[in-house]
């Protein structure tokens, strides 16, 4: 990763670092116009989800883990660009697993932060309106949906996520799990994501992950989930 950066000139590196890279990129021609992934700000304080998710977990999760996915995605995309310019398509293709992993990690966490909220504000409770109707229609009841989600989360072997998703064709909603950082793509629209990686709970809950899966319902931002559903 470091060697990739060293091969670019300092001027380009400086340009890549600034969000407004356009003027500098123009100097080098359109092939250098790229937007970089950046770490989004959390929409609340690190400690805002306590006592359900500790401030320490949130800080590490956002400022270290998510940042690493952002960096990894940018590095992989830069490597693709460089390989493309050299006609080294083998090297470009070899970045695919890294783009999936780090790109997925960036997308998943960005969605995750937004679909959480402090329990003292929008967090917790139950959805209302058309989302509530859809949950009742496709799961029978909110309680059944909750139980099935927790079962899906507990059943993940290794690292991964559980998602409430909407089928773009039929409009029905359902649960899926994804391994590692595989993002929800294709015909499924992600509505609500829950991170089941150990880093999401270990400092507070250790091996008692079922307790984390119970607690997180207190900080689900149903307003965000509903707005994704109504899109």
């Amino acid at each position: 990763m470091a060697s990739t950066l060293l091969r670019t000139t300092p001027a380009i590196r400086a340009a890549l670092r600034t969000p407004a890279a356009k003027p500098a990129a123009a100097l080098f021609g359109t092939s250098f116009v790229r937007s970089k992934a950046t770490l989004p700000d959390l929409p609340y304080d690190y400690s805002a989800l306590e006592p359900y998710i500790s401030g320490k977990i949130m800080e590490l999760h956002h400022s270290k883990h998510h940042q690493t996915y952002v960096n990894g995605l940018n590095t992989a995309l830069e490597t693709v660009e460089e390989a493309k310019e050299k006609g080294d398509f083998t090297k470009a293709a070899a970045q695919a697993p890294l783009i999936n992993f780090h790109g997925g990690g960036h997308l998943n966490h960005s969605l995750f932060w937004e679909n959480l909220a402090p329990a003292s504000k929008e967090g917790g409770g139950e959805p209302s309106g058309s989302l509530a109707d859809a949950i009742k229609r496709d799961f029978g009841s909110f309680d059944t949906f909750r139980k099935q989600t927790n079962t899906a989360l507990a059943g993940i072997q290794g690292s991964g996520w559980a998602w409430l998703v909407q089928d773009k064709t039929s409009g029905t909603i359902g649960l899926v799990t994804r391994a590692n950082q595989d993002p929800v793509t294709g015909n499924l629209q992600p509505l609500l994501g829950i991170d089941a990686w150990e880093h999401a709970y270990y400092l507070q809950y250790e091996n008692r992950k079922a307790e984390y899966f119970e607690a997180i319902w207190n900080v689900i931002n149903w307003k965000t989930v509903a707005s994704r559903f109504e899109k």
Partner: protein, 266 residues
């Protein structure tokens, strides 16, 4: 599926005959006999046979013996809670498998057996290929593992090169998984570094010599997101004597030795 359905009908028939007999009705004894034979044909291993159960092997050293590389708190949770959960869930899955009504139900249990059985094997191997940092086993790979050392030089050039390559593989594991130094199947097999996802064990022809757990639970309480620091530290607690023993012995004898620690007393 059809055969299974036929069998359960036959079983019900046998029960009906027995109760008819108790109430004094004349029955043809051969009907009962035939049904039993049929059932035995369907279930060559009837559930009443004891199912092999597994138990948590004790750590071969104290919980704090790997400090400062791996903290006591991590070792206690990792062994007593995580490894124990794999053993408990493996035993449950094996019992369900033995009692499963049909092949479809058995197949449905295979991922659970693979995951928890793999977790049991992997952790049993892991504890034994670690040793206190001050021990001769950990400090002196050249003396503790003479044959393995020759193979390491032949394959990687040096122990340092092996450690560099192994570390890169461990850092590259996406999500939960393990890295392994294995001896390949060929006679006088060479060395190779492989990774396995989640709890997939090394169960083919390859012989696992050294396993390193890179699930977050293996390091998070001490190193948090800094997996590379955990990996650097783990090299100070490798039991090279155990790795040499595994290198010198066949796959079967390694697993025989391992299973003696893993199986519950009947």
């Amino acid at each position: 599926m059809t055969d299974v359905a036929a069998s359960s009908t036959a079983g019900a028939g046998a029960g009906a005959s027995a109760s008819a007999s108790a109430s004094g009705t004349q029955v043809v004894p051969n009907d009962f006999q035939t049904n039993i034979q049929y059932a035995e044909m369907e279930y060559p291993n009837p559930p009443k046979m004891a199912v092999q159960q597994y138990s948590l092997p004790p750590l071969p050293y104290a919980y704090n013996a790997l400090e400062p590389a791996i903290s006591e708190a991590i070792m206690a949770l990792h062994h007593d809670s995580h490894h124990q959960a794999y053993v408990t869930n493996l035993n449950k899955a094996l019992a369900s498998y033995a009692g499963a009504a049909n092949i479809a139900d058995q197949i449905a249990l295979l991922p659970c057996i693979r995951f928890n059985g793999g977790g049991h094997i992997n952790h049993a191997l892991f504890w034994r290929n670690l040793a206190p940092p001050s021990s001769e086993d950990a400090q002196n790979p050249e003396a503790s593992a003479p044959n393995l050392a020759a193979a390491v030089r032949a394959t990687f050039g040096s122990f340092d090169a092996l450690i560099d390559r192994f570390s890169a593989a461990l850092n590259g594991v996406q999500g939960s998984g393990w890295g392994w130094l294995v001896r390949t199947a060929v006679p006088q097999g060479g060395l190779r570094i492989i990774t396995t996802k989640d709890q997939d064990p090394v169960v083919g022809e390859e012989v696992p010599l050294i396993g390193v757990d890179v699930w977050e639970h293996a390091y998070y309480l001490q190193y948090m997101n800094a997996r590379p620091q955990y990996i650097d530290a783990v090299w100070t607690v490798i039991n090279w004597t155990e790795a040499e023993m595994r290198y010198n012995h066949g796959r079967d004898s390694i697993f025989d030795e391992l299973l003696a620690h893993m199986e519950a007393d009947p």
